[in-house]
Symmetry: C2
Subunit: 510 residues, 2 copies
């Protein structure tokens, strides 16, 4: 067991932080609640961006960039919206530093304070109002990758930080139906992405009125279940109706020659997904990366004692790398690396995913440990005996399956197939865990007992009511995570009021 990582069973919250630290994914920064995403962590975000961006573009939206700063007056135009965000805004009030009696102080006070965007519906609404005149200008399908700030009191790396990275899609449509279709289309993109890329099974559902986005008519979400039995919202897609188009005057001349307000949507996922990925898959030995977002897909650990052994192993490792990455890339990698350090070779020129060879001056066991803690999906150990047998010892990080692979079999398609298999098995394991932790409750007492004793998702019939939901949250910490779409039409007796209710999922959430 890793000494620098607290076991999950002892202290889950500490385990989470230890995994992040051991894998060097992120650090807290000198500004309260803001994080530094280190290269190993940022590479995961790049994987997420790459895979999502492609999916967005395949359905229509393209990217743009809107300003970081939003005039205070914009935020207040949509009443619910400002209620939701006023308490956690970073406010810019000055435009320079000037010399004062005690050194530098803010100078050049602004006429109107500016807010660092907590989300961009307002400023984007303002721009759409200028761009949209006729139904011919619709739909507008735009996404933006950027940073946002929400100054929350309790922060946790990736899950809840004052500044975070995300994408926010914003679309405007001619009809209510088109807006609803877009909202659901992007929700499905999120589901497919979470499952096919991050190997996290998620439930697609609709939020209750109490839990929806400030300013939305309907909020849809994907919800994942973490290993400690808590739920994590992994992405949301909002049908904003005409709320923002009325607040910002996004009007167009319709086919009927009448002026009307556009129907808008917004949808987003954030660096929080990295937290979800960590908590869905990692173990007491550290990070376990789903292969499709791993920067390093394979770590090769040479094992040798003497210079002769090193030379023998090095010659063999060279053949392995050439088989996987090609001759030109082998040479390029050699040029980048120091002789006694980790050499990285691009396995895939498109994704920049890499094969690394660990030539550092350290014991083989320490190196194994190093790559294990960093969650690299696949490992080759190459010692003199392996070389004599003409192959390598291959190990999967996820379940530690181990086997001998002959050099002749090692090729790009071999590695791709192995990585696909790891993905499938990780997804299957996470799905099984979720099934085992989803339970039915027929009464509020049962709900409370499950939430207290076991955690996980609790399925039951419930009739939406803001004050009852607040009471349940106070008594159990659990909230309605969503009304799952799969069972959206089922009706039954609400476990609290006995009235007709919908089938919902309760859970304690991050």
């Amino acid at each position: 067991m890793a000494k620098n990582i607290k076991p999950r069973a002892e202290d889950y919250a500490q385990w989470y932080l230890d995994v992040i630290k051991a894998a060097q994914l992120a650090d807290y920064s000198p500004v309260r609640g803001c994080m530094v995403i280190r290269p190993e962590g940022y590479a995961i975000w790049e994987g997420i961006q790459r895979e999502l961006d492609r999916r967005f573009k395949d359905t229509g939206p393209t990217n743009a960039y809107f300003p970081l700063l939003i005039p205070q007056s914009f935020l207040t135009k949509e009443a619910q919206h400002i209620e939701g965000f006023a308490m956690e805004c970073a406010v810019v009030t000055h435009s320079k530093l000037e010399h004062g009696a005690k050194g530098l102080k803010p100078g050049g006070e602004l006429e109107e304070p500016l807010i660092i965007r907590p989300t961009s519906e307002t400023v984007i609404g303002h721009m759409y109002a200028q761009w949209v005149q006729s139904y011919r200008d619709l739909p507008v399908l735009i996404n933006q990758w950027c940073n946002v700030m929400r100054w929350e009191m309790r922060t946790r790396l990736f899950l809840r930080t004052a500044e975070f990275l995300w994408q926010e899609g914003h679309t405007a449509h001619e009809t209510e139906q088109e807006a609803e279709e877009e909202t659901l289309r992007m929700l499905e993109v999120y589901r497919e992405f979470a499952e096919d890329v991050l190997a996290i099974p998620v439930v697609k559902g609709r939020k209750t009125e109490a839990e929806k986005f400030p300013g939305a008519n309907v909020t849809y979400c994907i919800e994942g279940l973490m290993q400690d039995g808590k739920a994590l919202q992994c992405g949301t897609s909002h049908n904003l109706g005409q709320n923002f188009s009325k607040a910002f005057d996004i009007k167009f001349l319709g086919r009927d020659n009448k002026q009307q307000h556009a129907w808008t949507t917004s949808w987003g996922v954030s660096t929080r997904l990295i937290g979800a990925m960590i908590m869905a898959h990692s173990d007491d030995d550290g990070l376990v990366l789903p292969p499709r977002v791993a920067q390093n897909v394979l770590a090769i650990v040479p094992i040798f004692k003497t210079p002769e052994e090193r030379a023998k192993v090095a010659a063999f490792v060279e053949k392995v790398v050439r088989s996987l990455c090609g001759d030109a890339e082998f040479q390029a990698g050699q040029k980048r690396a120091k002789a006694d350090d980790v050499a990285a070779y691009f396995f895939d020129k498109f994704t920049h995913q890499r094969v690394v060879v660990d030539w550092r001056d350290a014991r083989p066991g320490d190196k194994q440990f190093h790559w294990e803690q960093r969650g690299v999906p696949f490992r080759f150990e190459v010692g003199p005996k392996d070389v004599d047998q003409g192959g390598v010892t291959a190990k999967r990080r996820f379940d530690r399956q181990k086997g001998f692979v002959e050099l002749a079999k090692i090729s790009p398609s071999y590695l791709r197939l192995e990585l696909d298999a790891v993905h499938r098995d990780m997804f299957a394991a996470a799905t099984k865990r979720r099934q085992e932790n989803t339970r039915d409750a027929a009464s509020y007492e049962e709900l409370k007992a499950i939430v207290t004793d076991k955690g996980g998702f609790v399925r039951c019939f419930f009739k939406q009511d803001k004050s009852i939901e607040a009471r349940i949250k106070e008594e159990t910490k659990a909230t309605v995570r969503c009304i799952p779409m799969e069972t959206a039409n089922e009706r039954g007796k609400c476990i609290l009021t006995g009235q007709e209710g919908q089938k919902v999922l309760f859970a304690v959430a991050y």
Copy 2:
């Protein structure tokens, strides 16, 4: 001539803004000096990111993310640095909005003001100090893609905006020599990128003491020449020596077992490159895009009068698109598009570069004009006559070369070769223009005459002197753009003082 674009000869500054507006690249935002980068403009930035990011990774650096906000005290640790940036800082002083007598007002005043990063040497230095302990931890090679703010008074879209997007690389090394090598390696990446991707010929050189980055020992740059004879700095690479490692205490235990300060570098390019690209290539009819960053590489304009003609042309266009993008992508594109709108088909799944077909209900001439103003490098016109002859009329945007191409010849490699040819010819034309606008001056009088009458680069011998440089700038508006590396060793009589000087390039710059 385009009526919505002022000719260059009449008003170059207005021409520049008109080109941006006609191509829908960017808009001013409601916050003074901040811009909205619209999808057509952002796609260019994505092209720049894609091509640069690959080049960075090929030489070593990987990406990370550091916080947006920097404590005021950090900025003041390096004396020159704060001098350079204090006057244009966006200052965050409050952490929420609260209800006051006149509505919402800033609340939750911060103990220490926070600055929106104008650049990140300080906060990155602070983090490196924690990450680096031994020479084994070096080099640290990190890049970040992000937004920064410098609240300048006079702004111009892309060239100078209060908020802009950029990348900033930050590296730390064991020795001075390694830092210098890295500084020059990245400068060469920038040169190669500017020339091979943006088709802008640039001069690699060193800045004078008067023009270097606040906090650098040496600043290197690439300088381009725009069509109006003004120079534009397209990228900089700084050798920071030990200035920031001393200010932020980046120390390591060396091979000699002694504590020493690291040697650091930083290097960056920004959305300003989009401005450079516009001014280097575009003409009185609008934008001219270098093919390697164009989102739409080919626009197909169907020409027809009757429904029968439309059907005939549509069947042929389908064959063309299938030949270029494949059958699956043809179907996917059909699904995304509305029947009477622009259909987009991905020509390259990696770069997301597209072929578009303009089915809008508009006159062919208006469509031609539309794609011309947007700078699409290549156009096919397909009318009934073309179909009868079994091909298309192909047009290059850059020089309006025109020819007939048979369907049988149209393939992905055909289009790639044509686009490469456009790139080469654009680069050759820009290089010729620069040569014609680079002149030698043997005296200050000659320098003044050239700057006033002709503009362009003026080559002469000059001995660095801050006060003389300030005087020349006042009298002529020209500054030393750089000491070109190609002629770094040449010495001659300074045109002002008669003392031994270096060969420099003067120009009026953006």
